[in-house]
Symmetry: D2
Subunit: 152 residues, 4 copies
């Protein structure tokens, strides 16, 4: 079962700031986009509905450590890896690299999301078990693999 | 009745791009924020609900002419003026100035919004007459005033 | 010589707003990204440098007319066409369509950019003739073609 | 000496997403804006220059834990506190609250920034000691105060 996903993107002008580099808040969008791309390759979406309720995935934690800057027209690889799946939450690790000879690491991120359901007309949200049709399509990465990624 | 609103804001780091100036797409957010501030001073909101339906104001046209750049920590004045009120739409004119000795004009914008209602569960949108409780609180600016603003 | 460029993109979660549709300011980024992609396919960049100075392309006008909304995970086609090339400026027309059976038009935009040079240490900007290595790679679209696009 | 700063802001439409709440990436901009506002109240700026070089403050770490959502037109208080000052870095803690009867906590963030200098024409960046004119204006918050804030 899949536990990782890689996408590539060219850095956009509007994502840079006056320091000439990608603004640090943009990395969080890159990480989220990779998560959604991952779901899509599995035939899933963050916005799904079964007979009685709608599922959603609010973010409960997000972080990045920044190592090297990205600049306009750089090609970036966003590498998302599932670190942990609990009954209601998923924890991702994210490695953003600048594509090139050295493929050097620019940032390391973490993202924890929680499964919620919105029910009825008032749309109140409640933490919920990850539905089986989601859970049976993903798994956590092997620990050695994660350790290896961290050491790079 | 009021036909204009002025707000001031300090330019934020994340609003700049690698050219060292505010990215042109940010001006559209400044204009929209001024519109919402204007409503708020009138006790109104873009998200209102009466007994049977919810109102909304999708944008049908937006434009800016850019004259001078804005930079990080500049103070900008966003001056919104109602140019025209029709049965279903409102047309705004917007002047963005850099606050300072000369108060020079940085950009001139236009925004046309249309009143819609969302009804029932499916949330289908339909163009609708601007509700009286909105219309009775605003009016179009006098033509001479608008002409004067344009000539500056 | 090329006078148009098409790119496709999937609508991102962070590009939507609480109305459930893409925020109107995002369309301006889509248009700019298409412009930069266009340059790139021609071996050009908005940030180029010759022996003595750096070129840039500040925006002098930008507008959109909004016809239909785009939503999360829609695929959008951004179609950029050169409408006019003057000595110092380029005027683009932009058609944003939702990819699908009907490929319906969601928004029509315009963008006028001006060529500037930044010289020496102080980085003062000055309007400049579009450099030959740029101009010889692009041309304006035939008028009939533009008319056809408008009539759709 | 000051070790904290509070600012208030009204949540903007463009900051929300289709889930009807502020997008999680926006919190990082709120935190950065509070940092810059803090500097400004001290007569400092993130972009300062002495006789030979320019200072900058790239972000090396940023994180948020999300507790409760913020919505359009909510008033938010952004409370920034200096947790630690080292020779080259500053670590901030940030509490974002929804202003109201209960003033409840919506998110807790951390931000570590590093002082760099850009020298000469090539603009190469190097980690540098925080300049005295900066350091003598700020201090870390007392530990008990930070502990108290965490326990709330």
């Amino acid at each position: 079962m899949p536990y990782e996903h890689k996408t590539r993107r060219v850095i956009r002008f509007a994502e840079t700031d006056m320091a000439g580099i990608v603004h640090f808040s943009e990395f969080f969008k890159y990480m989220e986009n990779a998560e959604h791309d991952f779901y899509r390759t599995l035939g899933l979406s963050v916005h799904m509905q079964d007979r009685t309720s709608a599922f959603g995935w609010p973010r409960v934690h997000a972080s990045f450590d920044y190592l090297k800057p990205l600049r306009f027209e750089d090609e970036a690889e966003v590498h998302l890896v599932i670190q942990e799946i609990a009954s209601k939450t998923v924890l991702y690790r994210c490695y953003i690299r600048k594509v090139g000879e050295e493929n050097h690491l620019c940032a390391k991120g973490s993202l924890r999301v929680i499964c919620i359901t919105k029910e009825g007309g008032n749309g109140s949200m409640r933490a919920a078990d990850i539905p089986p049709f989601f859970k049976e399509k993903i798994e956590a990465a092997p620990e050695e693999y994660l350790r290896e990624l961290e050491d790079h």
